[in-house]
Symmetry: C2
Subunit: 245 residues, 2 copies
DNA sequence: CTCAGTACACTGGTCAGACCAGTAACTCTG
DNA sequence: CAGAGTTACTGGTCTGACCAGTGTACTGAG
């Protein structure tokens, strides 16, 4: 006979579970309102501090938002990648997730979204990608260029039609940029860098236009490697090369 | 002249910021202890409820853990993927993510981890994979088989050496199973199903042993398609086929 | 001198009650 | 009917209290 180890369950945790369950099961939709804290404490039969700690946890997870003075009560939020972003960011700043792993992951995600985008793109998608690319070409200064670049990748992720690819791509792109932006801003020939990026993106877009998913994916991964690998410690670059074939 | 919109900053948020900053900057290392709540309220000059709400947020992010009665105070934790797991899980269960998207994402992740595993596997990795496969072959009943299957995939993700692949793979596998486990448990010939799975895994393992990453990745994606595509609405299966080449 | 057993100071979890600044909706006025 | 003022409430914060449970230091037996 075996028993499971148990951890004491705090009152506020039970409240978090109940509300979270109501949100993910769809009984509470985005935009809905929770009862006020004083009402919740009678419904759950606990003190207000307990209710508030539960709401704090839900708020940290970006499931709800509460503003003082609003008599409609805390608002149920739509699922957003903010919490995912924060936790991945924390993990990336800590041990065991370095630039090599992040870049590896980004090559996987970006490659796949490019592949899917090439297969699924519509005519409207192609014009959206064209304007995004024009935005990069017309960018004035590095900061604006970087923003346009991120926007271009976001459009590609959107075209891939998979929200998981969109969100995790968004997050990992952001974290990668944060990790190397200082090194990148110290690069002496950012003009050449930007032109190189632009050429890469044009090639990718051509492959997508030709519905050549495999080429688009390969080009995207290669571009990431060419532009970022130099910031990865030399002995870790072998982690990236298997993804280039 | 432009101004940025501002949001009111709550007292507990300032506390969270300060403690989080101390953790990520390394001034507080895993295993270190925070002062007790009563001591923190004097240091920060706030009431205990404010301190407690801050600690709740940090605890939800798995940066600290506090147990009642411990006179050493709350403990600073090592970075762990638990929070990432939870936020990704919430996102995957949320809106607009159906089985097709999940399966697509899983094909991407599993394919990549198989590719990397084949390139990076050591001799010990191979024996670990052998024992994992034996665990599947020896499994008695479907529940045990499913557990062994998940364990096998976890080992492969570990071998790929990328914690992001490990965590997101873990999550998406869990969510996929949640969505189809009832349909799967109603399948009438689970014996045939299990034998088919086992054969697939043997092929994959052979490719990994041969350091043939491309084959391993292709086989893994094909296996997922063969076994799960029937549960995807027919008009969405075209989302998956581009990943099979 | 060692070690099991005990007492105690203190921890976090929870509750009750209070005050404040600020908001949304209602009411009253012109 | 538009606008100004009122009001009832919201969430944010503080204080003070009680409790069950823990780690440690002390105590006493061997």
């Amino acid at each position: 006979m075996k028993f499971e180890p148990v951890a004491p369950v705090r009152a506020y945790e039970r409240i978090v579970e109940q509300i979270e369950e109501a949100v993910v099961s769809g009984r509470l939709k985005p935009g809905d309102r929770l009862p006020g804290e004083r009402e919740l404490m009678t419904q759950f039969g606990v003190g207000r501090s307990t209710v508030r700690e539960a709401l704090r946890v839900l708020q940290a997870a970006e499931l709800i938002r509460s503003r003082p003075g609003d008599p409609r009560g805390p608002e149920v939020l739509a699922a957003s990648p903010g919490a995912l972003h924060r936790s991945m960011h924390r993990l990336a700043r800590a041990d065991h997730v370095g630039l090599a792993e992040l870049l590896q992951f980004r090559m996987v995600l970006d490659g796949s979204s490019h592949l899917l985008a090439a297969e699924l793109r519509t005519a409207e998608d192609l014009t959206a990608l064209d304007t995004a690319l024009e935005g990069m070409a017309a960018a004035d200064g590095y900061a604006e260029f970087s923003r346009a670049d991120v926007a271009f990748h976001d459009v590609i992720a959107q075209v891939s039609r998979n929200p998981l690819l969109v969100v995790s791509g968004e997050v990992v792109r952001g974290v990668v940029l944060e990790l190397i932006e200082d090194k990148l801003s110290h690069a002496n020939d950012r003009g050449t860098l930007m032109r190189s990026w632009l050429r890469h993106h044009e090639e990718v877009l051509n492959a997508i236009r030709a519905a050549d998913g495999k080429s688009a994916a390969r080009l995207a991964r290669q571009a990431l490697y060419d532009n970022y690998a130099e910031y990865v410690p030399k002995d870790q670059r072998t982690l990236l090369t298997p993804l280039l074939t």
